[in-house]
């Protein structure tokens, strides 16, 4: 008894599952069956609406009337099956039955069940069957919406993929940009140097460089390309390369900047410019010559803590004015001196109250902590800027170099 009952239950369950499976196959799953069923329903709707017109023709031959009747039976049978399947497939059955498409489907078949071919109902039947046009409309509408949704999903997937690829490429470009910057200061007796570049979120154009020159001098570069993004990053690479190439032949800093300026002016379709401070240090003697092209004047901290700006009047920003000249200045370092080079990302770091970090705070850091080793001073200044700006986003690259010199 028990096994028979459970076997029956099992059979019923399987039947229910397979009916449900049939419903999903014909109605929901995208595929050839659903499409074919779709087309069948569409054809039957069109036929049934057309037959309303044909029936209205007076004095139809009996054969035609019979054919129309049989056609109607087939149509109602298929529509009824579809209606039942939709109810079975629907997650919320009552919601479907009382929904607009649900009611239309019901009205498309109900008159037949209520009145059959009874003459009294025939007229009402014919009029109500016009509602099948509504069924046609909702059908076409559902189809269109489904198609548009699919297209939209496809487009979104493509866009996301393209976006991900772009981000990846930008990340590589940013990594390359950072890799160009020298990690360590050249090993020379008496000299020590440290540098740090904290990029802003969008690619910027700050750079620093240490160039080993032919007669043992060291070239120190601190530069800032105008603007952001790919053009600035590109111009940064070009400017850095030009300067590096010309430095060995032009150990006079002013002449080096002039030559670099000419090279940049010659090829600058986007009117970008770069501010450059360039100094050449002789490690043996501590003599420094420097020139400035529109850049923030660096600070010199003497061993006794006095801080002064190397702000002799310089030349213009580089890249826009062919023929520009850059005066060269000379400075004699003494043991224990420090030179701090920076870009405006430091002094123009803003806090949430829209105040700028400013030169006075930087000078103070240099005065108070300048006695420490260059790497330690760099860290101090970066920390000071970071704690000043707090939660405000970093809008510009922050770049710093500190050089210390002791008589060998």
């Amino acid at each position: 008894m028990r096994t028979m009952a459970s076997a029956t239950l099992e059979a019923l369950r399987r039947t229910r599952a397979s009916v449900r499976g049939l419903a999903e196959l014909l109605l929901e799953r995208p595929g050839p069956y659903a499409r074919a069923f779709d087309d069948l329903i569409l054809a039957l709707i069109v036929l049934s609406v057309a037959s309303i017109g044909v029936e209205a023709i007076p004095e139809l031959p009996a054969g035609a009337v019979r054919a129309l009747r049989w056609g109607e039976i087939v149509i109602v049978a298929v529509f009824s099956l579809e209606y039942l399947l939709r109810i079975i497939a629907a997650k919320k059955k009552l919601a479907f039955i009382f929904s607009f498409p649900g009611l239309v489907d019901l009205l498309a078949i109900a008159p037949f069940y209520i009145g059959g071919f009874d003459a009294r109902w025939l007229r009402a039947l014919r009029l109500l069957r016009l509602l099948r046009v509504l069924k046609l409309q909702t059908h076409v509408l559902e189809d269109t919406v489904a198609q548009r949704t699919r297209e939209l999903a496809d487009k979104n997937a493509l866009l996301e993929k393209a976006q991900a690829q772009l981000q990846e490429e930008l990340a590589v470009a940013r990594a390359l940009q950072l890799a160009i910057l020298p990690g360590t200061f050249p090993a020379k007796a008496g000299c020590d140097g440290a540098a740090r570049m904290i990029p802003a979120t969008t690619m910027g154009g700050d750079f620093y460089d240490f160039i080993e020159l032919p007669q043992g001098q060291i070239g120190l570069v601190m530069a800032d390309v105008s603007g952001k993004g790919v053009p600035a990053a590109f111009f940064m690479a070009v400017a850095r390369t030009n300067l590096r190439d010309l430095a060995p032949q032009h150990t006079n800093p002013g002449a080096c900047l002039a030559a670099t300026n000419e090279a940049l002016c010659a090829e600058n379709p986007m009117d970008l410019f770069v501010t450059v401070f360039y100094a050449v240090l002789e490690p043996q003697t501590g003599m420094v010559r420097y020139a400035n092209g529109g850049h923030n004047p660096p600070y010199l901290r003497r061993a006794d803590g006095a801080v002064e700006a190397l702000d002799g009047r310089g030349g213009p920003i580089l890249g826009v004015l062919p023929g520009a000249t850059f005066p060269t200045y000379t400075l004699q370092l003494r043991s224990g001196d420090r030179v701090v080079l920076y870009t405006d990302g430091v002094t123009e770091a803003f806090n949430p109250a829209n105040e700028a970090y400013g030169e006075p705070r930087l000078v103070n850091e240099v005065r108070v902590h300048g006695g420490e080793a260059p790497a330690a001073l760099v860290e101090r200044i970066c920390e000071s800027v970071a704690s000043f700006s707090g939660s405000a986003p970093q809008s510009d690259d922050i770049t710093l170099t500190v050089l210390s010199w002791n008589a060998p």
Binding site: S226, G227, D271, F273, G294, P297, D344
Partner: protein, 113 residues
């Protein structure tokens, strides 16, 4: 960043800027200002007295517009820079590329001449 466009008389246009000319500020006004001045090769003076900040983006914008105008026979002259702004203009020697004057009268004369 707010921008007012006007007429300084005798064929010279006037531009007056208020606020911070940082990256966002430049984004807001660059296209409009370029479109206003460059196609007609205008002679224009720019009042900087209400600027609280001038970043390198602003410098680049002025240089680009000035050069475009120069190529077409127009002219751009800046004037009235407050101390912080004047400092930036000085440091970058913008005056060599875009003339900088003290006040509207000398600026207008420079734009005309």
């Amino acid at each position: 960043m707010e921008m007012q466009l006007g007429d300084a008389g005798e064929g010279v246009l006037s531009v007056s800027l208020t606020g911070r000319l940082d990256t966002q500020g430049v984004d807001r006004i660059e296209t409009k200002l370029t479109a206003h001045l460059v196609p007609i090769a205008a002679r224009a003076i720019v009042d900087l007295s209400q600027l609280s900040f001038l970043g390198s983006g602003g410098i680049r914008m002025f240089i680009t517009i000035a050069r475009a105008l120069n190529r077409r026979g127009g002219k751009l002259v800046l004037y009235g820079a407050p101390p912080i702004v004047a400092q930036v203009l000085d440091m970058t020697s913008v005056n060599d590329i875009v003339p900088v004057r003290a006040d509207a009268e000398t600026a207008a004369a420079a734009a005309r001449g």
